[in-house]
Symmetry: C2
Amino acid sequence: MNTKSVRTIADIARIANVSKATVSRALNDSPLVRAETKKRIQAIAEEHHFRINIPARNLSTQKSHTIAFVTNAYHVKAFSMEDLFSLEIMGGITNGLHPLGYEMLIVHVDPRDSEWATQYLESGRVDGFVLMTSSKKQSHIKTLLDIHAPFIVWGVPQANANYCSVTADNVTGGRLATEHLIQIGRQKIAFLGGSDYEREVQERLKGYEQALQNVGRQVDPNLLVYGDYSHASGYAAMEQLLDQAPDLDAVFVNSDLMAIAAINVIQNRGKQVPGDIAVVGYDDLSIANYNNLPLTTIRQNIPLAGKLLAENLVQYIQTGVVTNVTLPVELVVRKSA
Amino acid sequence: MNTKSVRTIADIARIANVSKATVSRALNDSPLVRAETKKRIQAIAEEHHFRINIPARNLSTQKSHTIAFVTNAYHVKAFSMEDLFSLEIMGGITNGLHPLGYEMLIVHVDPRDSEWATQYLESGRVDGFVLMTSSKKQSHIKTLLDIHAPFIVWGVPQANANYCSVTADNVTGGRLATEHLIQIGRQKIAFLGGSDYEREVQERLKGYEQALQNVGRQVDPNLLVYGDYSHASGYAAMEQLLDQAPDLDAVFVNSDLMAIAAINVIQNRGKQVPGDIAVVGYDDLSIANYNNLPLTTIRQNIPLAGKLLAENLVQYIQTGVVTNVTLPVELVVRKSA
DNA sequence: CTCTTTCTTGCAACCGGTTGCATTAGCAAC
DNA sequence: GTTGCTAATGCAACCGGTTGCAAGAAAGAG
C-alpha cells in the first residue's frame, strides 16, 4: 500500500497552488502553460518523485502505449533455439519502442483462435501488433485488417497490400549466397529452402536461379529441397539432399539454424565442411558466429529491422502513414563456405 | 476509431435494462447477482462481442494484471544466444501467467539506474517483477525491497531473506555432474564455474568437492576456473584450464553455452570430446540437444521453473504469502560425456 | 396480516489524468 | 480611460469500470 502523501496530480496541484489541469499540462510540456509556471511544477514533481498514473492516463487518452509482439509459440511449454530469430528481433523492437515511451507485451496466439486480435485491441490493452508468425500469417493479416487494427509485419507484404512491413532483400540474398559458392569453385550447388509457400523463400530461390543462370548453369530439381525453418526439418532435408545428390559440393540454406542442422548431417556422413561440402546459411543470428565451425551466412540486419518495426508501427498508430521498408542484405564470409 | 454501438458496460446495461453495477457484477461472475440475470447479461455481452475496457478496470481496481520480466540486456542492440536461458524461462513464465489473466512486459534495466522499479510500480504500469538479472542482482533486490515491490527471483535467495524465489538444487547438480565423470573413469576432473561470487556457483562447487571427497580424491586448485556465463568467457576459461592442466580428462561446466565454448576449445586443440576430454554442461537448454555433439548436462526444469515463478509471484501479489521453491535437478546423459 | 430478515438491484462516488471551453488578467491601440 | 485582443489559468465533464451502501421486493415466521 502506497502511503506517500504525494501520489496524484491533485497533490502536486495543492502544493503548487494551481489547478490539476495546469499540473497535467506542465508535466506534459504543453505550450499553454507559462514557462516559469511549468518549471516550478516540474521541480515540485521531481522533488516528490512523482509518477503519473499510467492506467488513468491510458483511460483518459484512450491509448495504452503498449505493443503486442505476436508469436505463434503458443503450443510449447517454453521457448527454445527454434525461437532465436524472434528473440534477436525482439531486442531490436524493445530498443526501438522504449525511447518512444512504448512497452512490449509478448502474446502467444493459437492460430485456430480468431478472437485474439479483438481481445487485445478492443479491450484497450494494446495499441498495435508486430506480427512475426509464419504459420497462418495470411490468416492473421486478414483478421487484423478486418478489425482495422494497427499492425506491422516482418516479411514480404502481399501484392497491393496496404499495411506496414519491414523485410529484407531476399532475391539479392539468394543471389549473393549462390554467387559466393560459384566463386569459390563449387560445381553442384543445392538449395535448402524454408517453407515453399512463403514469398521470402520463393524470392531467395529466384536469386539462386539468377546466379546460376548468370554463369550458364541450369537449375537441377534434384538439388531443391524445403524445410520449415526447424532444426529437425533442416536435418531431414539435408539427408534427403544427400540421398538425391550424393555428389553435391555446396548448399545454400535458408536459415542459420537449418544450416547448422545441415552441417551436422554432413559431418555425420563422414564428410568435411567446407572441404567436401560448403554451407551458406541465412539471417546471421548470433549462433552463426558461436558455432564451432563459424557460418558463412547472409546477414539480415536484425537489430535495425527490429528498431524499424517498432518505429514504423508507432508512426502508423500516430499518423496513419503506411511504410514498407526493404533492408539490404550482405554476405558474411566465415568458415563454413 | 471504434464505431461499434456496443462499446461499454453502459451500453450492455441499456440493452439488458439493468444498471452498470449489475452488468459489472455479472461479467465478473459476482454472487451478488441472481443467476438468471447473470446468464442473460453474459449472453448479451457475448452476442455483441463485448470487451471490457482494460485501462478503466486497471484504474478502478488499482491493479494492472501485468508483470515485468526484468533482464539486464539493456546495453545491447539485440538479444543473442547469450540470452537463451532467459528466452527459455520466459516461455514458461508467460505460460504460467496467461491462465491467471496476467500479461508480461519485457523490461530492460540499466544497473546504474535506481529509479526503474518505482518508475514501473508506482506509475501502476506493473503489479510485480520477475528478477532474472545476474549483474547487480543484490542491488536490484535491495531496490525492490526498499519500495516494498512485489517480486520473485530466479536463484538462491539470501540467507534470512523474506522474498519469493525459485531455484534448483545446485549442490546436487554439482555432485551428479562430478559423480558421472568419476563413474565413467575420468581421473582429472576440472570445474569451469560461472561468476564466483554467486551462491549458485558456490553451491555447485560444493557438490563437485563432495563428489571428489566421497571417493577419496582431493580438489586441485589448478582445476578450478571461472567465467561469467558468456560464450567468450567460457572459451577463455577453457583455454586457461588446458594451459594450467594439459592432462585433464574431464570438465564440469556451469552452463551449456560455456560448455559448447569449452568443446570448441578442446576440438581446436586437436583433442576429442568425449574421448580425450569428457564435458558436462548445466541447464539443459535446447542448444544442448542441437549441438552436433549433444551435451551431457544437468537439467534444471526450466519450463516448470518459469511456470512457478509466474504462479508464485501472482500468489504473493494477491495474498502476501512468500514461497521459496527448490526444484530437483537430473543428469541427462548424451554424447559429450 | 404484520413484522423482520434476506435477496436483488440501483445509486453514485470513486479510481487519476486529460482537455474543451470559460474566465480573468494583462497588454496594446485609439 | 475605454475597448478589444491575447495569454494564462481554472472549471468540470469525461474516459469506463468497480463497489460500498441504500432501497425496495420477496419470503418466512408469528
